[in-house]
Symmetry: C2
């Protein structure tokens, strides 16, 4: 395709994209297709000769588009939103046109510098401590970068946290270069903590690294937040058993209910009790695998002196962008103070509720050297004169798993400038108001409709079981089955939470959702319940 | 930004992108900016109120664009190419507009089905064995998916290979559920192999997973290919020392010289010598850490019976797309037969030489269940009726590290249909012809210009040292320093290779590069050498 063919095709695509958004309400929310619909429609091999764009574009609209679930539909209230903004589309158009895998500063200086600047802009907008910024002060050691997903960000943090813990254990043992056997044994004792409500980013990172993940219990009475005493008890138990706590993956806005863990209590619980002991003896004792049960608490204390500090990470994938709202910061003041004062890292997804289209997962750390210590690999062909001559030049490949990286900061810049922080606030507040409207509809309707949880712009509901129900989940499950048949009109997600069982999640957050959509959505819920003879 | 503002902005962007490509030759290849140029030009925080698009777009062109290194410039011959095609831009425009993190089939059925179909199309185009296909036959167990980078693909393979090895060791030891301590000890014994020329994807994956990576030596006499006897000797040595070989990361087209490892010899070397012994005893013996040096070979054989099969992976990041050329398949017939018959997985980057813009790294495996075994995590909110009811429905999150994923297959479909396989072949052949032209220029010029390696469309050259040179690299390093001052005209990369020392790489592959660009590039090389008084 030459430039002029592209010009025509791209102009047409722009108008088609506009039409797509203008006619969004007429589309089914969920793709109404059967498995294999596209697999069977396409030939088994690429054509030998090139085909006309008009034919390809026709197939795109007739074959591919019907199989798209419309995440931008005003009645897409499933999972969490995946915001698209037009500014974001413009950013991705340019990023594609300017393709360059900006692994080093010189690969495209703008890619590195705009990304670091946008990280600082977002840190400022979300009132993160200056310690999280690249240019947070004269001695700034912090900063971060944009990943493709929260999973990638959490895995990256887990690698850095593991290696920091191993370095600490190595130093405490008096070794310079520990043997592989010693390191493997030490790694096998590391424990990451989260709650049963922590997103799979935590347990999957541990699974990938072959580390222990302990999902601690939470209760509905505690709004499903991980509490300090639960964590403290687990740490004590694990240390007694000869294990090494190395990381907490806390959450600000869990997936099921958008619960906020008690970050203040977690920070306190994660500080090890200290006592001056001989570090070598303690760590050696620690790693020899003996549990010393008989020595009880005194052994725990002796050990804890030489245990590494626990890396505190918060996954704010969904709720993070709401930190730009003063009312949210007031509501979670204790948690945010602890986050800023005590936590090592925070990640969030601008591509959920933050108006930047997928993918955009910023991760901030207070000590960026911890990432570089784990992830730097520099063969000759990746050395650059710019990085060698100027310590301010960061080659971002050294802070991530992958080498290449997309120009993701461009869409952040476009979005933050075009909307301004006030525009982002307005978007978030609109969604919270819509969620509150939904909450009132449910509460006004009353029994058997029950609001189980409500945080940010997420509602979790169920149908209250009757005392005669053998299975307390049966009504809500029946409602869910009825709703699945109406997923062209409305898409929600199911979940299961401690203390309430099977529930239905309603996530607001699409910029196109209006009050009438909330009213219509509740009407669909009621209709499904009536049809299934549940009310 | 509303739809109509977007329409105007996007139409303008399309024309600006066209202008950008039409005026590419007038731009400096490498961004001519100093570190901090953009950091200092932008304010320290996002604006409070939204700004007009015209102002943002103006700043984009005046502030950001000068800091872009032009990877699409006809005289960008550094690293490896990062092809952009206009079809690819169209694909990314739509992917951005349709944003959906297609982690499950139902999230957008087209995203999953088109990706699996494109994997099969590419497998067919590159003549991979049907065992690598999703629909390779009635009992097909293979397939794969598209990752964001070769690093991510290699890390994913390493996780699956590690877990397969641990499952094998567990079964051989007679355990059902091994203890963490046992698993950690076993993990500490695993060894991945590559060569000193293997891309950092290999060693970095091992570093991330805390595993051993052994970079085996290669020689210029062997065209820098990893040979079977080298691998066999290393395996024997490691097994004797009580270690467990679990993966080879071989390369088809290394980064420094595009060398092709002897895949046929590697496959033979990686097959363990077998001898019927009691598996339990052997593995227990193996994992107890004793080396049993005195028992010599017989112990090795006893051990090897219970050692896991070695996972054979090939990283074909750069050269992979060239497998669609019959002449390349003929040239590397032995290697490709071994790849198809014996290897477990292969990854390549369509975003290097394959006309699909970054990012697009397909990975194929012969047994996709191996990926799912390591990477499946299914909380309640990720369960779907579609996946529960139909075994043909694959939820792609279970085959990768991240949960969310971009709609990358759309640009592959657009590119393969618009160019056809013949179009892709023509692109690759044009580049190889240009590289051969460059080769002739160097050979015709003669001393001190020296062609060190030439594979696919990559040349590696140096200035031959004089017998009086204290440092044999000094002349080529001086040439490199002179070239860096001319990086507005031509961008190349340096490297260092066994047997030849410091060299300069010249990578052809940009679709806009023409014969005159090759001639001009060599003229720049000669001018730089003359100016530096090296010729």
């Amino acid at each position: 395709m030459d430039v002029e063919t592209f010009r025509r095709a791209a102009h047409a695509a722009v108008d088609e994209i506009c039409d797509h958004y203008l006619s969004m309400r007429d589309k089914p929310v969920t793709a109404q297709v059967k498995p294999g619909f596209l697999t069977d429609a396409l030939p088994d091999a690429a054509p030998s000769s090139g085909q006309d764009w008009s034919r390809i574009n026709e197939d795109f609209h007739s074959l591919v588009m019907p199989g798209m679930t419309q995440w931008q539909h005003p009645k897409f209230m499933a999972y969490y939103p995946a915001n698209v903004s037009f500014e974001g589309i413009l950013g991705d158009m340019w990023a594609a046109a300017l393709t360059n895998p900006g692994f080093n500063w010189i690969c495209s200086p703008s890619v590195t510098e705009l990304e670091l600047k946008m990280m600082d802009w977002m840190a400022e907008a979300f009132h993160l401590d200056p310690a999280f910024k690249q240019r947070g002060g004269p001695q700034s050691k912090g900063g971060g970068l944009i990943f493709g997903s929260a999973s990638e960000a959490t895995l990256t943090v887990a690698i850095a946290a593991r290696d920091r813990a191993l370095r600490h254990l190595t130093a405490a043992s008096g070794q310079i270069e520990p043997s592989r056997e010693w390191a493997a044994e030490a790694t096998g004792k590391l424990v990451m903590y989260g709650s049963t409500e922590t997103h799979s980013v935590g347990s999957k990172a541990a699974q990938i690294l072959g580390l222990r993940f302990r999902a601690l219990p939470v209760t509905l009475q505690n709004r499903l937040a991980l509490r300090g005493d639960t964590l403290a008890a687990a740490i004590k138990e694990d240390v007694s058993a000869g294990l090494v706590p190395f990381m907490v993956c806390a959450t600000l806005g869990t997936t099921s209910t958008s619960a906020v863990d008690a970050l203040d209590e977690i920070a306190s619980a994660a500080i090890m009790p200290t006592k001056v002991v001989d570090a070598d003896v303690a760590v050696h004792d620690h790693l020899d695998g003996s549990t010393n049960g008989a020595n009880g608490n005194s052994t725990d204390c002796a050990r804890s002196e030489s245990l590494p500090p626990i890396w505190l990470h918060v996954d704010a994938a969904y709720a993070g962008p709401a930190l730009c709202l003063p009312e949210i910061r007031t509501k979670y003041q204790k948690e945010l103070s602890a986050l800023n004062a005590k936590f090592d890292s925070i990640s969030l997804n601008m591509h959920k509720w933050g108006l930047v289209n997928f993918d955009c997962s910023p991760l901030w750390v207070k000590d960026r050297a911890q990432l570089a210590a784990s992830l730097t690999v520099t063969p000759e062909y990746l050395k650059t004169t710019a990085a060698a001559n100027d310590p301010s030049v960061l080659d971002l490949r050294n802070y991530q798993i992958s080498l290449g990286r997309r120009f993701r900061s461009l869409k952040v810049w476009f979005v933050l400038r075009s909307h301004g922080i006030e525009g982002l606030r307005q978007h978030l507040r609109d969604d919270i108001l819509l969620a509150e409207r939904f909450k009132r509809l449910i509460e006004d309707e009353g029994d058997p409709w029950q609001l189980v949880e409500f945080n940010f712009a997420l509602l979790v509901i169920r149908l209250k079981p009757a005392s005669t129900d053998a299975d307390p989940d049966s009504r809500t499950r029946a409602l869910w089955a009825a709703l699945e048949k109406r997923n062209d009109e409305l898409l929600l997600t199911q979940t299961s939470i401690p203390g309430a069982g099977f529930c239905i999640r309603i996530a607001l957050g699409c910029p196109r959702t209006q009050e009438r959509d909330v009213d219509d959505a509740f009407a669909v819920l009621k209709l499904a319940a009536t049809e299934a003879k549940l009310v």
